[in-house]
């Protein structure tokens, strides 16, 4: 797949400051106007092992990771051996001259001479930014801002090191033509999926976030905790996931927009709470960041293996909505939509992400916050007559939700089947009516469902179906194949549930060949589509080794499925 993007892989041990240099580099590149997309691959350990931080940069929007490596920045020798086979024709490797590595595509840096042991990553940063032809001042400023909290002395040292490396690199004659300048991403934001979800939640009026640490969702809690005091949000690390979701339900019942974040194993412990939220009709937003299972599985890798689990989590029958963002922009806006639906339909709403998207830094245009309103929890107190009936039977199934203590009206909610007043009942006629009332809310959710995103030819040779984080990879594959003259359509789901047949069926029938692309082993989305539309997608490109789906992977897969 020939393309003009540059793929920079920084490799080394955990604890070598990969993330630091990576994040600064990303900001420098974006500030210089290039679009960027980061893929992080790390092991479940704190020191040692082998991790990579991969930045793909381009003059136009970068939507997916790529496999071929153009610049390999090796922070340790092991990295060279592990990745040199991926080096592209024009690519090269940045190494320490001291390692005695002898590839003809090596740029040997005198890290040793510079006494850079502690700050090797800073020097490396200088070398790469110089080679990319970035502006020295911009790089220095970006680094300074990043290290803002450090003491002046350390900052000085870092600056010195960077200058040294930068100048050295500029003098090297190396056959790497600088990328053509771009202004695409000038003053874009740089954030990952977790950041965008946190920000989306804050703009929605989030007041309570509870969690129990679990990769890859933990950073949402970290981000929110850092802003808790200034934004007026309670961020509570619970004793376990059961407490986390029950606290959030309590906080939401009391009137605060509430969210929890976790991954598969932690979510498993929240399942009973999901059913409680549904029964008490308490709004709650649940971020479920997938990682490979079963059980503990691969804690620091990615997968899309929990679609069916989330779709059916919780005993009993009740409405829900499930979103699966595929971009930073969707992480932000779908989180907002989740809060809105949770509040208006008094139901649990899910945001289904995965490890890849969670910590994939990307550039994105800033959001116009002025136009974005927070949700207003609860119904109008004045409008209620006595006796107040929290679960009054209504046409659309949504009953007036007062907040306890906000008026003289008493608010009663019960996990048992209950009367309109919320009190426990065993009246089976009421039972049936309550089930019907709750399920009627599903119609409202259906009415507001986001149709899948459809791109490309009306009557394609091939239609690619995807959901969530694979969006970009599929788009890229589509345009690549089109460039080769094929007629391609893409159908991408950013909302998985409710799934409305009439919005999609025609598309399926329009295609000569349909392939479903999923990050799991059994094709869960394909099954769901058949269940809801009757259309049977037989060809699949599936990945379940813990790595994100790349355009190259899909193309290889397509050649196998024999499309």
């Amino acid at each position: 797949m020939a393309d003009s993007t540059i793929n920079i892989v920084i490799g080394g041990e955990a604890g070598q400051g990969l993330l630091t240099v990576g994040q600064i580099l990303v900001k420098c590149i974006a500030k210089s106007g290039y679009s960027i997309l980061v893929t992080q691959d790390s092991q479940s350990r704190i020191r040692g092992g082998h991790n990579t931080f991969t930045i793909r940069m381009g003059t136009q929007k970068v939507v997916a990771p790529k496999e071929a490596v153009d610049i390999l920045l090796a922070l340790n020798k092991e990295t060279v051996g592990l990745h040199k086979s991926d080096i592209s024709s024009r690519g090269f490797i940045i190494v320490d001259e001291g390692w005695g590595v002898d590839e003809n595509i090596c740029l040997k840096v005198p890290f040793g001479k510079w006494g850079a042991d502690g700050s090797m990553n800073i020097c490396a940063l200088g070398v790469v930014t110089a080679l990319l032809g970035l502006d020295r001042k911009l790089v220095l400023e970006t680094m300074n801002r990043f290290f803002g909290s450090l003491d002046e002395q350390r900052l000085q040292e870092n600056r010195a090191m960077l200058e040294l490396a930068f100048s050295w690199a500029q003098e090297q004659s190396i056959s790497f033509e600088e990328p053509t300048p771009s202004s695409y991403a000038l003053n874009h934001l740089v954030m990952n999926g977790n950041d965008a979800i946190a920000l989306g939640a804050l703009t929605s009026g989030l007041k309570f976030y509870s969690f129990y640490p679990m990769t890859p969702a933990t950073p949402i809690g970290v981000t929110l905790a850092g802003k808790a005091e200034e934004t007026g949000v309670i961020v509570e690390q619970a004793e376990d996931e059961i407490a986390a979701i029950n606290m959030a339900i309590g906080a939401s019942f009391a009137g605060g927009p509430s969210m929890v974040g976790t991954s598969g194993g932690g979510f498993a412990l929240m399942v009973e709470g999901v059913s409680l939220a549904a029964m008490t009709e308490t709004p709650i937003v649940i971020v479920m960041a997938q990682r490979p299972g079963p059980a503990t599985g691969l804690p620091t890798r990615t997968e899309q293996g929990d679609l069916e689990f989330v779709l059916h989590a919780g005993h009993g029958e009740f409405p829900r909505a499930v979103f699966a963002p595929g971009t930073i922009d969707e992480c932000f806006h779908l989180t907002r939509r989740a809060f809105d639906l949770a509040e208006r339909f008094q139901s649990p709403v899910f945001i289904l992400t995965d490890h890849f998207l969670s910590d994939s830094f990307r550039d994105t245009p800033p959001f116009d916050l002025s136009s974005l309103l927070p949700v207003t929890p609860g119904s109008d107190t004045e409008a209620q007559s006595s006796p107040y009936r929290r679960f009054a039977f209504t046409e659309n199934g949504v009953s007036p939700r007062l907040l306890p203590g906000s008026s003289k009206h008493l608010v009663v909610a019960d996990s048992d089947e209950h009367t309109e007043e919320g009190h426990i009942t065993e009246d089976l006629t009421i039972r049936k009516r309550m089930v019907d009332k709750r399920l009627r809310k599903q119609d409202g959710l259906i009415h507001e469902v986001l149709p899948p995103d459809v791109q490309g030819d009306k009557r394609p040779d091939l239609m690619l179906v995807s959901w969530g984080s694979t969006r970009g990879a599929v788009e890229e594959v589509a345009s690549h194949l089109r460039s080769e003259g094929e007629r391609i359509k893409t159908l991408h789901f950013s909302q998985l549930w409710p799934l409305v047949p009439d919005k999609v069926l025609d598309h399926f029938e329009s295609a000569r060949d349909v392939v479903c692309v999923e990050g799991n082993a059994t094709g869960q989305m394909a099954r769901l589509i058949r269940r809801e539309t009757g259309f049977h997608i037989e060809k699949r490109v599936l990945r379940y080794d813990g790595l994100p789906i790349t355009p190259e992977y899909i193309l290889r897969g397509l050649s196998v499925t024999g499309k």
Partner: protein, 283 residues
């Protein structure tokens, strides 16, 4: 001025003679004596016979899952500090299924009052052993008798230096009502473990059994003396002390967060400018 009548009188699903009736009365009395109107109160319960109690009085109620009343109560209290939040549920609910939340709640010391209907048995599910059932207690699921040593919530509460640890007896309603009132008045987590006869399933710890053993702590008892309190909590077989067993003015959870001192969080407007600033931070 509120009276016990403001808290209403309702039909219950309890067995005649159950200890729950007097606990319900004591709770209502305590709320009235605290000068609280029903809409200022939120009672959170789990599932069990005890957990049905909040349906039998006037208040805001969240009757949640078995074992999970504490986390719900904590979330609600943090969101609206103006509410007086009471957790009312059984021994199985609070010390069995909910044991982990019990430990965490003591450590957090949030201003919530726990009233535990401790009948030393699982009532609603027809009489299995609960964490507080005595060793050797015979049930249909423990035909050879309970093999574990019983959980003593008061001992653990004092050991962990909970802010307010008391034991009451359903047979002494006024004394109990006063304990609950004091628990509500106390800032921080208050535990009131209430000895409650279950006429249907606990034929060992009957009304008479408790009656014979329960005695109020002497006036000169020092609730601040931790070592003395620890020792006191071990009294059981022939004499059972009731009253406030330990009290400390530990910092509450709320004290740690300036945010929580500015009044109920639920009333706070969100500040767009701050969020704008946060977003700018991502440039």
């Amino acid at each position: 001025m509120t009276t016990i009548d403001d808290y209403g009188n309702y039909e219950t699903a309890w067995c005649p003679g159950c200890g729950n009736f007097s606990i319900l009365k004591a709770v209502k009395q305590a709320l009235a004596d605290s000068g609280l109107a029903p809409h200022q109160v939120l009672i959170v319960s789990g599932i069990g016979q005890a957990a049905k109690a909040p349906h039998y009085l006037n208040a805001n109620v969240f009757n949640g899952l078995h074992g999970r009343s504490l986390p719900v109560a904590i979330g609600a209290k943090l969101m609206n500090s103006a509410l007086t939040v009471i957790v009312e549920s059984g021994d199985g609910c609070n010390y069995g299924e909910g044991g982990n939340h019990f430990l965490a709640a003591i450590r957090r010391n949030i201003d919530i009052t726990m009233v535990v209907h401790n009948n030393q048995v699982y009532g609603l599910t027809k009489g299995q052993a609960s964490p507080t059932s005595p060793e050797g207690f015979v049930t249909k699921t423990q035909p050879q008798g309970v093999a574990s040593s019983p959980f003593n919530p008061v001992t653990v509460g004092v050991a962990m230096k909970a802010g307010f640890v008391a034991r009451g007896f359903a047979g002494q309603v006024d004394h109990l009502a006063d304990l609950i009132r004091r628990g509500i008045a106390h800032r921080g987590l208050s535990l009131i473990d209430v000895l409650q006869p279950c006429v249907s399933f606990n034929k060992v710890n009957t009304f008479e059994w408790y009656q014979k053993r329960c005695y109020p702590l002497p006036d000169d008892y020092d609730v601040k003396d931790w070592e003395g309190a620890m020792k006191m909590t071990t009294q059981w077989e022939d004499k059972i002390p009731i009253g406030v067993i330990y009290q400390s003015d530990r910092k509450t959870y709320e004290d740690h967060f300036p945010l929580l001192k500015e009044g109920p969080l639920v009333d706070r407007e969100i500040d767009r400018a701050v969020i704008q600033q946060i977003m700018e931070g991502y440039r």
